[in-house]
């Protein structure tokens, strides 16, 4: 019976001090192979110092069709931004 290699998502930290960022995906039989393939596919020119791989099926993603319900509640909360608050000009840095 034919079984296809599962899909993995690859995250790379380009240097210490920066976060891991999504770089792309690839197919591999297991996690170890996914790491090795990720090194060869995504870091051939010193693009990274650390790699994470996670099987794509373990990622839960929000649905863009529900972006309204999901993200609109933040839109009318201007009081979460510093510019909402008035301070006298004399106060130079705050």
């Amino acid at each position: 019976m034919k079984k296809n290699w599962p899909l993995w998502e690859v995250f790379v930290r380009s240097k210490n001090g920066l976060e891991h960022r999504h770089f792309g995906s690839l197919h591999a039989a297991d996690a170890e192979m996914a790491l090795e393939n990720a090194r060869d596919v995504y870091t051939r020119r010193n693009e990274g110092v650390s790699i994470w791989v996670v099987e794509s099926k373990h990622i839960t993603a929000s649905n863009p069709e529900h972006n309204g319900e999901m993200f609109e509640p933040a839109q009318d909360k201007v009081y979460r931004h510093p510019t909402f608050y008035k301070v006298p000009d004399e106060v130079k840095h705050m």
Binding site: G24, A29, V41, R44
Partner: protein, 318 residues
């Protein structure tokens, strides 16, 4: 979904693209957009993969270690580019297996240029200089295309591609400065690769069926004829510089247009090769299919091993 709802979604979609917003995998998109992108991205991926074959032919016969490591690295990059692009294509809801299947059965196309043979070492120079040069001209505008995963893959591809062209030009330059035989070898390679490289930028605008829709979706930012002119204008001075002659008697600078005029392209040849009658179509496909079939036991073994390891881990936990 009612027809009206779809119309609204389509209007919203077109508006998004004209605002230069990207389309991401889970966003709603018209079925035609999805299909067109699967066609173009997979064709692009297949071209990278099949494109390894003509060059692979010369790895073991590279004239020096320096040339050999460079060619190896270039071919490895092409494998990488193919993989970036397959991944981008899979986000549109088609599996890697289906994509391979389409290539192996001839349903999907790849760039016709790879159906020409690589007869001498100078062909490695001509491919890097001309074929990768034409590819770059084609690809740079795609870094801004509307489909997010494709655009991101193209940014990475373009960053890596310029080494390819420079290594090819260096090979040509060295040969052109060498013995008369070496120079002749370089000229012969230019003679054979020039016209297929021009064809690589696609049929003329009046014969291109996809251009209009593709421009609208920003899947294409310049027409084939514009890209071809750009390639010619950029390459002719490079050939002059290394003392090689472009094999086109009609080639002439046109002061008024600010471009080179060039001779007629043999489109019959182009369509023959596209339809499968090029010098190496059969050989290339057979090599791809053979590699896939001979690799099957390796893929199965790796999967069986992974399952066994996972099983063992589970038992240990229990």
């Amino acid at each position: 979904m009612s027809e009206n709802q779809i119309k609204n979604l389509e209007a919203e979609f077109e508006a998004k693209i004209s605002r230069d917003e990207k389309i991401e995998p889970k966003d709603w998109m018209p079925e035609k957009y999805r299909q067109t992108h699967i066609r173009q991205i997979s064709q692009h991926a297949h071209s990278e993969i099949v494109g390894m074959l003509p060059e692979g032919n010369w790895i073991t016969r590279a004239p020096s270690l320096r040339r050999k490591v460079a060619l190896l690295a270039k071919v490895q990059d092409e494998a990488g580019h193919g993989l970036y692009l397959y991944s981008a294509c899979e986000t549109l809801g088609i599996s890697r297996d289906e994509l391979y299947e389409q290539l192996h059965t001839g349903k999907a196309k790849y760039s016709s240029i790879f159906n020409y043979p690589t007869l001498t070492w100078a062909d490695m120079g001509a491919i890097g200089w001309l074929v990768d040069g034409a590819a770059i001209i084609n690809q740079v505008p795609l870094c801004n295309t509307s489909y997010g995963p494709y655009a991101r893959a193209m940014v990475r591809v373009c960053k890596e591609e310029s080494f390819h062209q420079r290594q090819g030009f260096e090979i040509m330059m060295k040969l052109a400065q060498g013995t008369p035989e070496q120079k002749e070898m370089a000229q012969d390679a230019l003679n054979r690769w020039w016209w297929p490289s021009l064809m690589m930028l696609g049929p003329t605008d009046d014969a291109s069926v996809h251009t209009e829709q593709s421009m609208k979706w920003k899947l294409k930012r310049k027409t084939n004829d514009e890209l071809r002119q750009q390639f010619i204008d950029q390459t002719v001075p490079q050939a002059d510089l290394i003392g090689l002659t472009i094999p086109d008697f009609d080639l002439k600078w046109n002061e008024e247009r600010g471009h080179y005029d060039f001779g007629p392209i043999n489109w019959d040849e182009f369509w023959q090769v596209v339809k499968g009658h090029g010098p190496c179509n059969k050989e290339r496909l057979a090599a791809r299919k053979g590699a896939w079939e001979r690799g099957e036991w390796v893929r199965d073994a790796a999967m069986a091993y992974a399952e066994k390891q996972a099983d063992r881990k589970e038992k240990q936990v229990v």
